[in-house]
């Protein structure tokens, strides 16, 4: 089970760690407020799309409040 015998796995882990750093870490210089929650970048989604998505969820009868979820 020595990881030395799996260079491809080490490379995979390296690559993923690298991607994680480049995309999620590093200094954020943009002047916009970027909320990095669940990899969802709200600045790009835009408020209008966000609101229409909430409407869609409610149409489908999805609970969108903790209280609903407990019933």
């Amino acid at each position: 089970m020595s990881s030395d015998l799996r260079p491809d796995l080490r490379q995979q882990v390296t690559l993923l760690e690298l991607v994680d750093r480049v995309l999620n870490k590093g200094v954020v210089l943009s002047g916009d407020i970027t909320l990095s929650v669940a990899d969802v970048d709200l600045v790009y989604i835009g408020l209008r799309v966000l609101l229409s998505s909430v409407a869609t969820l409610e149409e489908q009868g999805m609970p969108v409040a903790i209280g609903d979820a407990l019933r």
């Binding site: 995979q12 882990v13 993923l16 991607v19 994680d20 929650v37 790009y44 869609t56 903790i66």
Partner: protein, 118 residues
């Protein structure tokens, strides 16, 4: 270091590296990320956001309850009631996650300075 040569930055590894790789798999969904107007992706992205926030609140509330439990501040009846509520909430969260095809690691919070909250 060329982008096409295999890179290996693993300095030390043990146990099952597969499990480590599994934790990071979701990053492969990041491409392409920015200009994504696909409504289904947006909806799943929104579901992920909502569930992450609910999960954050759930964990915070549960932690509060554990602190009060440790401090002996809760009666047996309260313990049962609180516990049952959290059990139900937990179960509902599992159902919602399954519905949207989300794993625990997808609900990944980058809280910045609040990073240690969870």
């Amino acid at each position: 270091m060329s982008a096409h040569e295999p890179i290996d930055k693993v300095l030390a590894g043990s146990g099952d590296l597969d499990r480590i790789a599994g934790e990071l798999e979701h990053l492969q969904d990041a491409f392409p990320r920015r200009i994504n107007a696909d409504p289904e992706k947006v909806e799943q992205g929104l579901a992920r956001l909502v569930l992450t926030l609910v999960e954050l609140l759930r964990q915070l509330m549960e932690r509060q309850a554990l602190r009060r439990m440790e401090g002996g501040a809760l009666t047996d009846e309260q313990l049962d009631q609180l516990g049952e509520t959290f059990m139900k909430l937990n179960q509902r969260m599992e159902e919602l996650k399954a519905e949207f095809g989300l794993e625990d690691r997808d609900l990944n919070l980058d809280l910045g300075p609040l990073g240690n909250l969870l």
